[in-house]
């Protein structure tokens, strides 16, 4: 930041910055520090005594199979959502980027899912996919597929993936469209003159030029799946059946709600914080550098 300071005075700027600093300290730093501190403590069953145990909570956590299961679920969930929502977003954006009529109307419809809360999106899809009630669930059953997300873990995962992809399409579509529109027309025309057909132009010129947007969106989508899908999971599956849709964040939420193992829950939170910080740092590195290949 170059030195732009123009007005003199010390008291006024301190007063101006005070509200945000105060809120950050009370609701951000203080709880984050508490989580960190608590993750090194063990409390007895009655909450009467606490003991400082260094990394024991972390060691215990890394020895529970459920934790690895939650990691696996999170990875599968993130990968599926990122792949499908990015793929569909890019496809729609590439189509919308051609000079065709009615683009405003298409865009208006395509941005609607962004405005729908994850939990509400979940309700919309439960209504279609609830066995015995939902229109699509009944069609699947007529087709001989024993669709039942309440009992079948794979089906439950498919359900939450569909909701999350639907919820994220708008975002990816808008960013890909902005990215596509930023590519100079002359580059594409030059390739066309050299005889490259549309598909070839897309994969050899447009797609590589889009890589900064794609990188950025991959990170954003992973962050979305990690943290914003809690409403989807809580409404649609409750993490079940038998943990099939229990992501890391949802596990923190469920374990914390039960509240018997504060230290373990805090250790889980701290691990998540480290993951987000790493993802954000990674994102800044790449977005700042504007990678091109």
């Amino acid at each position: 930041m170059e030195n732009r300071a123009i007005f003199s005075g010390k008291l006024l700027p301190c007063l101006l910055i005070l509200p945000q600093l105060a809120i950050s300290l009370i609701f951000f730093y203080w709880p984050a520090a508490q989580a960190l501190w608590q993750s090194f403590l063990v409390q007895d069953a009655f909450g009467l005594s606490t003991e400082f145990v260094w990394f024991e909570n972390y060691v215990n956590l890394l020895q529970t199979p459920e934790y690895y299961h939650a990691i696996g679920v999170t990875l599968v969930f993130s990968a599926l959502v990122a792949f499908f929502s990015l793929g569909l977003g890019l496809l729609l954006a590439a189509m919308a980027n051609r000079n065709i009529r009615g683009i405003q109307i298409y865009r208006t419809f395509l941005i609607v899912p962004y405005a729908v809360a994850p939990a509400v999106a979940s309700v919309l899809f439960i209504f279609m996919l609830q066995p015995g009630l939902g229109m699509i669930a009944r069609a699947l059953q007529r087709a001989g597929i024993d669709w039942n997300p309440v009992l079948n873990g794979t089906h439950a995962m498919i359900l939450v993936v569909i909701v999350a992809v639907w919820n994220q399409i708008s975002y990816n579509f808008l960013f890909f469209l902005a990215g596509l529109q930023a590519i100079p027309k002359s580059v594409i025309e030059a390739a066309a003159i050299d005889g490259a057909r549309p598909m070839r132009r897309f994969w050899t010129i447009i797609f590589p030029l889009l890589s900064p947007t794609t990188f950025f969106l991959i990170i954003v989508n992973i962050t979305y799946v990690f943290f914003n899908t809690l409403g989807i999971i809580d409404t649609a599956t409750g993490g079940g059946p038998s943990g099939a849709t229990q992501t890391l964040v949802y596990k923190v939420f469920q374990d914390g709600k039960v509240g018997t193992d504060l230290g373990g829950s805090a250790a889980q939170s701290v691990i998540l914080m480290v993951i987000v910080v790493a993802l954000t740092a990674f994102q800044f590195r790449y977005v700042e550098k504007k990678v091109h290949y």
């Binding site: 930041m1 030195n3 732009r4 300071a5 123009i6 007005f7 010390k10 006024l12 700027p13 301190c14 101006l16 910055i17 509200p19 945000q20 600093l21 300290l25 009370i26 609701f27 951000f28 730093y29 709880p31 984050a32 508490q34 989580a35 608590q38 729609l92 189509m95 051609r98 000079n99 065709i100 009615g102 298409y106 865009r107 208006t108 395509l110 941005i111 609607v112 962004y114 809360a117 994850p118 509400v120 309700v123 919309l124 209504f127 279609m128 009630l133 229109m135 399409i169 708008s170 808008l174 902005a178 950025f216 954003v220 943290f227 809690l230 809580d234 923190v252 914390g256 939170s269 914080m273």
Partner: protein
């Protein structure tokens, strides 16, 4: 765009239309379901055109509640959601614009420390520090209050960064000119900076309104009283009632009402929304 296409543009139209249908169908179905009788929905024979029970259902959902269950009327929940969304949007913009102003236009001790202290909050969403934040909010006696719903969610740096970015593009000469005209820092803020920031404020407002309205985890944890619920968490309780008893027409009407304000905001203020989205994230 570049060459003549033999088949015209039917392929892009087809793909975009399919996309629109996939995106719009769940929403359409919810609207339709909210106008049918529960019996028609429950036996799985709901038609794809509107029914005749719409007014009755919306009246029962928003105002009356239901006789058979302990369900709350949704009207109050919508009011809570509205207060929360507006509070988050206005609160975050207010504290961010003044702190960005201080960081960009003043030299004061620990300016960079203050900036980094705020900047780091960008990294951790409320979901990862949820229980400690809950405990602090509870210690401050803010459970079941609007302050408790709003304040912890405005502790984030996105808006501050956006305003800082924007303020740094304002030419120094403009500030010099106002100083020559005798304007102090407060005058300059209200007479020059604020009018210049109107578009940014509006774009941010759209994004933050949606963010606030759609919150799930935080209101779920800190509201225990039914009259403090927001609509997004209220809807879960409606379908949570043992499955066979779920009043699906009410659930769908609630879903429609929960979607309506943010969807209207996004559609009507599309340009501001896109601007806000792209600028807050990049």
């Amino acid at each position: 765009m570049v060459e003549h296409r033999r088949f015209g543009n039917w392929l892009p139209h087809l793909i975009l239309l399919t996309g629109v249908v996939i995106v719009a169908f769940p929403v359409y179905l919810a609207v339709i379901a909210s106008t049918h009788d529960n019996a028609v929905i429950a036996n799985g024979q709901m038609p794809l055109y509107p029914g005749t029970h719409g007014l009755e259902t919306y009246w029962n959902t928003i105002v009356a509640g239901a006789g058979k269950t302990t369900r709350q009327p949704v009207g109050g929940m919508m009011l809570n959601s509205l207060i929360m969304a507006l509070g988050i949007a206005a609160g975050k913009i207010a504290i961010s614009i003044i702190s960005a102003y201080a960081i960009v236009f003043f030299a004061f001790p620990f300016r960079m420390t203050a900036f980094w202290t705020i900047f780091i909050t960008l990294m951790l969403p409320v979901e990862v520090r949820i229980f400690p934040t809950y405990k602090i909010t509870s210690d401050l006696h803010m459970l079941d209050s609007y302050a408790g719903l709003i304040l912890p969610l405005i502790a984030s740096a996105t808006a501050t960064l956006l305003f800082r970015q924007f303020f740094m593009t304002i030419p120094k000469e403009l500030v010099e000119a106002s100083k020559i005209d005798g304007a102090g820092p407060i005058r300059f803020f209200f007479d020059t900076l604020l009018p210049l920031s109107v578009t940014n404020i509006a774009a941010l407002f759209v994004i933050l309104f949606i963010y606030g309205w759609n919150q799930y985890l935080w209101p779920l944890l800190i509201t225990t009283r039914d009259d403090m619920q927001t609509i997004v968490i209220g809807i879960k309780k409606i379908i949570d009632v043992h499955d066979a008893l779920t009043e699906w027409q009410v659930a769908m009407a609630t879903a429609v009402l929960a979607m309506l304000p943010p969807v209207v905001v996004v559609v009507l203020m599309q340009r501001l929304f896109v601007k806000g989205l792209i600028e807050t994230e990049k």
